[in-house]
């Protein structure tokens, strides 16, 4: 393995075949297994970057998520593809989404923690739905009376959202900002009542763009 005796173009083709046919994202360690030759991470990354470039602007794109690399169709084709698969994952209710958000940003949390923040009982159906989706799981128990279960998000959650790590979640609005956004939020709620699905107000808080880390990012388990 002194000089690269292997054909880089062939390596790229094998990688492409593997990534196109794999049901799961593939890590660098997986991809190495494809070859007799020992390929360094750098070489692999370079080829993957090249491959991603080859697919740029086409109907599918190569993405890097928490569990590795995978191809996905570009979102703009979803509206067509939905006609073939009428049953796609539902949009979750706000109750589910709020529970998910609390687990995502505050993990690991108990059901009690979630209830404290939401101010209502968390139905076990919500927890079950998120567990069934493979997005959360139990990572331990808090050592207090009753030993409540601690929930955290899974790698699949990150994969499904196309994220590599929790640090890529949209930044939280900080509390000071919330105090100042009275008017804006009032507007938001008015639109909500008007049953407006778009809810554009939220978007002006640019996600992930803010460099100052004013939030606590739980380390990925």
């Amino acid at each position: 393995m002194d000089s690269p005796s292997f054909d880089l173009q062939e390596v790229k083709r094998v990688l492409e075949a593997a990534l196109l046919t794999s049901a799961e994202p593939l890590q660098l360690t997986d991809l190495k297994k494809l070859f007799d030759e020992e390929l360094s991470n750098d070489v692999l990354r370079n080829i993957l970057a090249e491959l991603a470039g080859d697919w740029d602007g086409r109907v599918i794109e190569l993405t890097n998520v928490a569990s590795g690399w995978r191809f996905r169709a570009r979102p703009e084709y979803t509206r067509f593809l939905d006609r073939l698969n009428p049953q796609r994952p539902p949009r979750y209710s706000r109750a589910v989404l709020e529970t998910l958000a609390i687990i995502s940003y505050k993990q690991p949390v108990t059901r009690g923690d979630i209830e404290d923040i939401r101010g209502v009982i968390v139905s076990s159906n919500i927890i079950k739905a998120l567990q069934a989706r493979g997005w959360i799981d139990v990572v331990g128990n808090r050592e207090v009376p009753g030993r409540p279960e601690l929930f955290a998000t899974t790698r699949q959650f990150l994969d499904d959202l196309g994220l590599r790590s929790l640090t890529e979640l949209p930044a939280l609005d900080d509390l000071g900002q919330l105090v100042d956004t009275v008017t804006e939020a009032a507007q938001f709620n008015t639109e909500l009542t008007a049953d407006d699905a778009e809810e554009p107000v939220e978007d002006d808080v640019s996600p992930a763009e803010e460099p100052e880390e004013q939030r606590v990012i739980p380390t990925l388990n």
Partner: protein, 269 residues
């Protein structure tokens, strides 16, 4: 929160009924049908309070407790009429609000006006913490999700080429024997010894030959080059096959060639 629990849960209702509804501002009024739809949207008392605060442009840091409490109780009363299940969480909050409101009415000690903790502080903290998560939930929902907003690529590959068979190691067979032996119904006459392998292997080999050629001259079963042990084993195999009537050994007359036939061939012919 803790003080709130101490407040009898019937207290807020009694208080509420003691207060005239006319105090409510006009713009709070929502037609009953619309309200029903609206109520479904509230995720709990904090959500409802946030709605009221935002709707009326109240200052979160200086909430007019009397006004907010009155409005809140009005909604709770309607909810109570619609759905009793909802009442629990909402009633606790009602108690909290009333408790805060009454503490605000108490004259503040002049000695330390600024050190005194605002009775509303905890409520404000909770409202903001909830609103933060509510917004985060909305942002999460906006993110493209696999299956919902984009599809994953899945190209077919023929994997049937090398169908995986179960792997068996010689040790597995020995283990299988141990299982057999441990079973009560193992009979003594099924003893297995090392030698029989060799003899039985040759028995099988001889039978195989006899499948193709029905008749073999006895001596051709042996090859002197194989050495004595092998010759002995082959001989034992022939004898064992004969004993088990799997082969027939024939000789027309003394000193003439001995022939070995499979018993199968014998019966067929």
């Amino acid at each position: 929160m803790i003080e709130a629990v101490e407040t009898p849960s019937t207290a807020p209702l009694a208080t509420y009924r003691g207060e005239p509804l006319l105090e409510l501002p006009q713009d709070l009024y929502i037609p009953p049908d619309a309200l029903e739809i609206l109520l479904d949207m509230f995720e709990g008392p904090l959500d409802l309070l946030l709605y009221l605060i935002r709707k009326h442009n109240l200052d979160v840091l200086d909430i007019p407790m009397a006004r907010l409490t009155a409005q809140y109780l009005e909604y709770v009363e309607i909810m109570r009429q619609k759905s009793l299940e909802l009442a629990g969480d909402y009633l606790v909050m009602a108690a909290v609000l009333i408790e805060i409101k009454s503490r605000m009415l108490l004259p503040r000690p002049a000695a330390s006006p600024h050190d005194e903790l605002d009775p509303r502080a905890e409520l404000v903290r909770r409202l903001l913490a909830y609103e933060q998560m509510k917004r985060a939930a909305h942002k999460l929902d906006q993110m493209p999700q696999a299956g919902r907003d984009f599809q994953l690529v899945q190209v077919w590959i023929d994997k049937a080429v090398a169908q995986a068979f179960p792997a068996v190691a010689p040790e597995d067979l020995r283990q299988a024997w141990v299982w057999l032996l441990r079973r009560a119904n193992v009979n003594q006459h099924h003893r297995v010894t090392r030698d029989q392998l060799s003899v039985r292997e040759h028995m099988s080999a001889i039978l195989r030959r006899l499948q193709d050629v029905k008749l073999i001259e006895f001596t051709r079963l042996f090859s002197p080059a194989d050495g004595v042990p092998k010759l002995v084993v082959t001989f034992l195999a022939v004898l064992e096959l004969a004993r088990e009537t799997l082969i027939e050994i024939t000789q027309q007359e003394p000193y003439s060639p001995i022939y070995v036939k499979s018993a199968h061939g014998l019966t067929v012919v």
